[in-house]
Symmetry: C2
Amino acid sequence: MNIAILGAGNVGSALARLWAGQGHTVTFGLKPGSNPRNPMPAGVSAAAIPDAVAAAAVVTLCVPWPAAEAAVRSAGPLAGKVLIDATNPLKDDLSGLELGTTTSAAEQVAAWAGRTRVVKAFNTIGAMLYGNADIAGMRADGFYCGDDADAKREVATLITDAGLDPIDVGPLRMARALEPMALLWIDLAVRQKRPLPFGFKLLRG
Amino acid sequence: MNIAILGAGNVGSALARLWAGQGHTVTFGLKPGSNPRNPMPAGVSAAAIPDAVAAAAVVTLCVPWPAAEAAVRSAGPLAGKVLIDATNPLKDDLSGLELGTTTSAAEQVAAWAGRTRVVKAFNTIGAMLYGNADIAGMRADGFYCGDDADAKREVATLITDAGLDPIDVGPLRMARALEPMALLWIDLAVRQKRPLPFGFKLLRG
């Protein structure tokens, strides 16, 4: 395939190297006067953004989020092409997302509950798989998060006792990720009718 | 442990059965006049919500989201207890979340780009793991979503060529889950300093 990559940082450079190695034609789209941040992989070229896009069937957007709108608007005609969006709308300090995600049920529950220690758990896999979550030779994870270490230790035991592999994913605000993950599980199961069993795992070495 | 469960639906019933089987003392907290929706598991009792909560060290909230606030406010004193929040703030038609999540970068990019076919991909695992994502005997997933089947087929090939296991998670609006998933990966790597490699997988049978 003929692929244009907008954004020559870590994501764009890694994709260019791998895709060129598989025989694809890869061109970085550069703003006037700019150069790739990393060394150009073998077999990869660069051109002005509109020229790189015009020649490509697939355009990959992997600039930092604050540069995304300008990159899209400078691309020229995109009709008929595939645009891969690899961006993440991260805040500068990585504390959250700039758009789309602002709070979580867990944080709301904590506000209602007052002085207690809230741990988010048991929300990312269907209840029919509790105790029955060994899939493809691995055990699905019971993701949990919270702000109190002792409380999380107790909940980890209860997750194990419910037949899931407990994994601590950090402070309570990470429920902002676990609740959308649950939405994804539910959408796959209910709307997309993906056959059970399936469940999320954080593979770790 | 002495555990109160608020919500006797599928989640609460499954947890009660498994936890009682592990020797925990489990009591459903019931609203006045209500009964568990499913048969009571062996070794599990029921009491009025404030009584069940008063006796418990761990309170598990697994009511439907519209009932969550009333359940928390009816629980009585929670100080010193652990409150497990297993809710998901789902819309009635399961099309999204009632709070916390409203849009995604992918949908914003599609709005900027106009007539093109946007596919979200390559955002849920660090670029250093592209081509290097075999972890614990499995290959990490390259999650992708979009609204055009042909475009997604092309992107699936490019995900394979980048050394990830492509998995179609549905329409473009599921980027509302993939972007928080990316935030979680980044938070684990950067803020929590979890050692690499790690990556998400949807285990499937």
